[in-house]
């Protein structure tokens, strides 16, 4: 409580996490496109090349598949690589390495070879970057056994998830919503590594469970405040880990509220939200007073124009209206 706080951006929090990792463990190195001389496409690694040198902060050619695969190899060879893929959209070029190698090595080898690799990527829309730069595929990645999938919504997590991920013996995908890099807020001066397993309850209520992650967390928190005013109180859960899911977090909440609304920036069909809805169906059906609902991105490649992009993404207004309808019919 008496913690000393300071104001910091999400971007700087990410950089602190990177710096700590590079300082703490000699086996850690960062590689990706423009992480060095450019300072990172979102400026998250600015200054690290100067501080740690080109061996440990490595600019790569535009070869997503191979530098990701090289991360796998380096992890097998005793290093603790952090691979940065600028955005999740480009990671499709590396999917073969991620799914067919990183996620399967341990199993194919009958437990002989684990892959302690962290892959960081920016994700999501909201910056008018259109159909090849705006998608939210982290929930889609959560389908793959053998990897873990995290999404850092808060400054604490932007600062602390990386080290948690590096402690993990298996491949971890760590997503950073690109709209959040500029977000400023308060962070404890001595903030450090965080646990990467559990969800976090950000707001407590009785009437409705809002389940979300990433930048939609803030939309849910806004909605919860508005709803509070009109007498509807919500639990707001930030999943944090998309694979594995901390399902107890929402089962517990639903057992209290009996209603759940999932807010997920992924496209609706086959979204992580669908998985959560199905799990609630399977495990908490008799707790439900109303069907679980989902607010997801409209199923359209992201349009460039601002009003269309906004309409395609989940918004506070829709969350509030849906919540009201769920409670009052």
């Amino acid at each position: 409580m008496a913690e000393q706080m300071r104001t910091i951006t999400y971007r700087d929090a990410v950089r602190e996490g990177l710096r700590e990792a590079l300082q703490k463990d000699e086996r850690v190195f960062l590689m990706g496109e423009d992480v060095g001389r450019y300072g990172g496409c979102f400026a998250a690694s600015k200054g690290l090349l100067e501080e740690f040198g080109p061996e440990r902060v490595r600019d790569t050619p535009l070869s997503e598949s191979t530098f990701t695969g090289a991360g796998i190899g380096a992890a097998l060879g005793g290093m603790r690589p952090i691979v940065e893929i600028m955005t999740v959209n480009f990671s499709l070029l590396a999917l073969d390495q991620i799914m067919n190698n990183a996620a399967t090595y341990l199993h194919m080898s009958g437990g002989l070879f684990n892959v302690p690799l962290v892959i960081r990527m920016a994700t999501g829309g909201g910056k008018q970057l259109a159909a090849q730069h705006s998608h939210s595929l982290e929930g889609w990645y959560a389908h793959i056994p053998g990897i873990k999938v995290l999404c850092a919504a808060t400054l604490e997590d932007a600062r602390g998830m990386l080290w948690g991920a590096l402690l993990d013996p298996d491949p971890v995908l760590l997503f950073e919503p690109s709209v959040l890099y500029a977000m400023e807020g308060e962070l404890a001066v001595d903030a450090g590594a965080v646990d990467i397993a559990g969800a976090r309850l950000h707001h407590e209520g009785r009437d409705l469970t809002l389940i979300t992650y990433g930048s939609c967390l803030y939309k849910c928190l806004d909605a919860a405040e508005q709803l509070e005013v009109s007498g509807i109180s919500c639990d707001v859960i930030d999943l944090r880990s998309l694979r594995p899911l901390d399902e107890e977090s929402f089962f517990t909440s639903v057992a209290k509220t009996h209603r759940a609304l999932i807010v997920d920036e992924g496209w609706r069909s086959g979204s992580l939200a669908a998985e959560i809805s199905a799990r609630i169906m399977e495990n908490a059906f008799y707790e439900l007073d109303a069907p679980v609902e989902r607010i997801c991105s409209v199923e359209v490649p992201m349009p460039y124009a601002k009003h269309m992009e906004e309409a395609a993404l989940p918004q506070v207004k829709t969350i509030v209206e849906t919540a009201r309808r769920m409670i009052h019919g």
Binding site: E33, R37, P61, A131, A305, K306, M308
Partner: protein, 334 residues
């Protein structure tokens, strides 16, 4: 197999053509200067990649293409769109995100498309356009259309696996693709020497048996000549060609780039070789233009841009009811 066309300013021979090249380069330059302004004014959003400094490439290459040849470009494609024949209006409106834009506001700066002029993007995945170009050329080969598909990409794209696959397939199947590498020496902040073990780019294409040439991309006349020869070779014998144009971008990679990776001095050095200024100098030497004629040219370009901005400003937004259109086709026409 490689012909080096580096020059220090080809002698001008054709007055009309030289003036037209100048006009095209000015249109791109001024349009983009205006775009940068509009970006600061938040009229244009998202990513904006300027081609300033590289205009001789698109203008020269277009000089080698026929109207019905296809062009596949990158996210740095305002110039390509203009030289391919698109009106400034529809480009500017697209960058505003208006419904009158070439893509009805869906694409923005990085995704300009035009069916009539056969511009197949505006592709924002580095290297992603190369396989598509190979396929367009395959369609022409199969349909016995004697057309060229021109594919422009940056030198950074050459590290992608798709470059290798696409060059091999085009060579193996003898497809009419003109590969144009716009070598501006940087991929965002990554210098060519940090991206390629061997920086001799044509040698890579040659390793697939593709004919190559290198040209000074700051000299529009040289580019046009090289492109003309390359394209007619593609047209005549049906197989691919790789043309490297050595150029430089005078501006940051996009609007979010502190340019930590290169020196002011280096940039200034290249600016001395500005393709527009050098062409003006040479045209002046010939006595083909004077200040007042140049003023007229600039005036006409300024008017065209002003009209485009006006058009974009006046244009309506797409209705939100249309949000889910163009995910699937509406007609079943085959």
């Amino acid at each position: 197999m490689s012909h080096d066309r580096s020059t220090n300013g080809q002698p001008l021979t054709d007055r009309e053509q030289s003036l037209e090249f100048l006009r095209q380069m000015l249109r791109i330059r001024r349009f983009e200067e205006k775009s940068a302004e509009l970006y600061s004014a938040q009229k244009i959003r998202g990513f904006l990649h300027l081609y300033i400094g590289e205009e001789a490439v698109a203008v020269g290459v277009a000089g080698g293409l026929n109207k019905d040849d296809a062009l596949v470009a990158t996210y740095r494609e305002h110039g390509h769109a203009m030289v391919k024949g698109m009106a400034m209006n529809t480009i500017m409106a697209e960058m505003y995100g208006k419904v009158t834009g070439c893509c009805r506001g869906r694409g923005g700066s990085m995704h300009l498309f035009d069916a009539e002029h056969r511009l197949y993007g505006g592709n924002a995945i580095v290297g992603g356009g190369l396989p598509v170009a190979v396929g367009l050329a395959l369609a022409d080969q199969l349909q016995k259309n004697h057309r060229v598909t021109c594919c422009c990409f940056g030198e950074g794209a050459m590290a992608e696996g798709e470059f290798h696959e696409a060059l091999n397939l085009a060579a193996l199947w003898h497809l009419p693709v003109l590969f144009v590498c716009e070598n501006n020496y940087y991929a965002m902040g990554t210098a060519l020497i940090r991206s390629e073990a061997v920086v001799d780019l044509p040698s890579k294409a040659a390793s697939y048996g593709v004919e190559t040439a290198t040209v000074d991309g700051m000299d529009v006349i040289a580019v046009a000549e090289a492109a003309q020869q390359a394209a007619s070779q593609v047209r005549q014998n049906g197989g691919p060609f790789f043309l490297e144009c050595r150029t430089y971008r005078f501006r940051p990679h996009s609007m979010f780039d502190p340019e930590l990776y290169r020196s002011k001095q280096e940039v200034e050095g290249w600016k001395q070789r500005c393709p527009i200024e050098s062409l003006i100098r040479r045209i002046r030497e010939k006595g083909w233009i004077d200040d007042s004629r140049l003023g007229e040219l600039e005036g006409a370009v300024a008017a065209e841009i002003a009209a485009a901005v006006d058009y974009a400003e006046q244009s309506p937004w797409e209705s939100l009811e249309e949000l889910t259109r163009f995910v699937y086709s509406e007609s079943e026409v085959r």
